[in-house]
């Protein structure tokens, strides 16, 4: 199906007809399901729904027929598994199609906001965004695979955990510098600021306390929840509880006072 789509795209390009909207409008459509053979004839190209290519500023605007609509129906976003089976060239072409589509949608949204009108089908922007993210994921995967094969490294931007000026741990994404570290005076000076001093220590103390409290409260909450469940349902499945609340000691809680309901326990039955 997707190879058909590629052929559709290439044929359409050869004929000088490219519909931008077509790429957004879901990769699986009935007209695309026609066999690749049928597309070899120019007649088949005539049957395909394409609009003439626009090479002017009107590319920044939606189709004229959608201007006064309150809803524009489009397909879904591209999925990663669909993009994975595409060639690099196709992905590259699709990126620019999506880029143009996004520009168009953003332009229309801006104008609608300006004129106090509702922008029809705003989910289109999200769909394009998701498609672009998925496409980038696929390209990144290929990059990684290539680099691992050729160099033994992923080729991703190197990262390392460092402490910032407040002594908090952050993930620092390394970047290239024109100067080596010992010559980079500006950088050396910036490092001298460092964390330390009473204010920072006090801040760190309180910050850690806050984190600890959040953790403690979450723990208490789940503990109480387990106790209330056991109180209301004395025969509750303990395995389910253990799975649901892995950090709660269910066996220990069973003997708690809070777990016992407001009834006289049946002794010796």
């Amino acid at each position: 199906m997707s190879s058909t789509l590629i052929k559709c795209f290439n044929l359409a390009k050869a004929a000088g007809n490219v519909t931008v909207r077509r790429f957004l409008a879901g990769p699986m459509q009935s007209w695309q399901a026609c066999s690749a053979l049928a597309l070899q004839t120019p007649l088949a190209q005539m049957q395909m729904h394409t609009s003439p290519v626009r090479r002017d500023l009107m590319e920044f605007f939606d189709d004229k027929k959608n201007w006064s609509e309150t809803e524009v129906k489009v397909g879904r976003a591209w999925r990663t598994e669909e993009l994975r089976i595409k060639s690099n060239k196709d992905l590259h072409q699709l990126w620019f199609v999506l880029l143009k589509e996004r520009n168009m949608l953003m332009t229309m949204e801006h104008e609608c906001n300006d004129k106090m009108e509702t922008f029809p089908s705003p989910e289109r922007i999200d769909k394009v965004k998701i498609s672009m993210e998925n496409l980038e994921t696929v390209v990144r995967e290929r990059n990684k695979a290539y680099h691992l094969l050729e160099t033994g490294e992923t080729g991703e931007r190197p990262q390392k955990p460092v402490q910032n000026a407040l002594g908090l741990k952050i993930n620092y994404k390394t970047c290239e510098h024109a100067l080596p570290p010992f010559m980079n005076l500006k950088w050396i000076k910036s490092r001298n600021i460092g964390f330390g001093g009473r204010a920072v220590n006090r801040f760190l103390l309180k910050y850690r306390e806050k984190l600890y409290n959040a953790k403690r409260k979450a723990k208490n909450r789940s503990r109480n929840e387990v106790m209330m469940i056991l109180r209301r349902n004395p025969n509750f499945d303990l395995g389910v509880l253990r799975r649901q609340f892995p950090d709660v000691d269910v066996e220990k809680l069973r003997n708690e006072d809070k777990v016992r309901g407001h009834y006289v326990p049946k002794v010796g039955v």
Partner: protein, 150 residues
Amino acid sequence: MSTRWYPIYQRGNPQLRVFLPNFWMKLIRPTEEQPPNVVTFSVSMEMTKYDVRSYLEKIYKLPVVDVRTRIALGETKKDQTYGYITKKDDVKLAYVTLPREESFVFPDFFSEKAEKQAKEEKSLDESKEGFRRFLDRNKKRPGTPGWFSI
């Protein structure tokens, strides 16, 4: 290297190429009166004049004569009740000059919208009216289907 990570600029050729540009450009309605061949864009903050030019020339195949950019300061607003201050984001505007013979008028999207809405409302009113008539007719014989009498 990853798709969003490029080595720093080095002099000489060949230069690095951007394979998956992430820049966006919005064509916006100019606030002031402009010559017919000048178009206003709102662009990604990272874009330079050269970026704008090559973006339009390579991706949109538009002839560009000149590009000027400026960063418009976002509006600062003080809250009426609580007095805190909010600021809208700054935007980069690009004024692109096309060749002299080109002319562009920003289209009006919503001229037909009111007409269409009025038409829709009219049909809705008509169907409401029809239903009301049906109810009136069936007031004395509830539960009778619509096809029972003419």
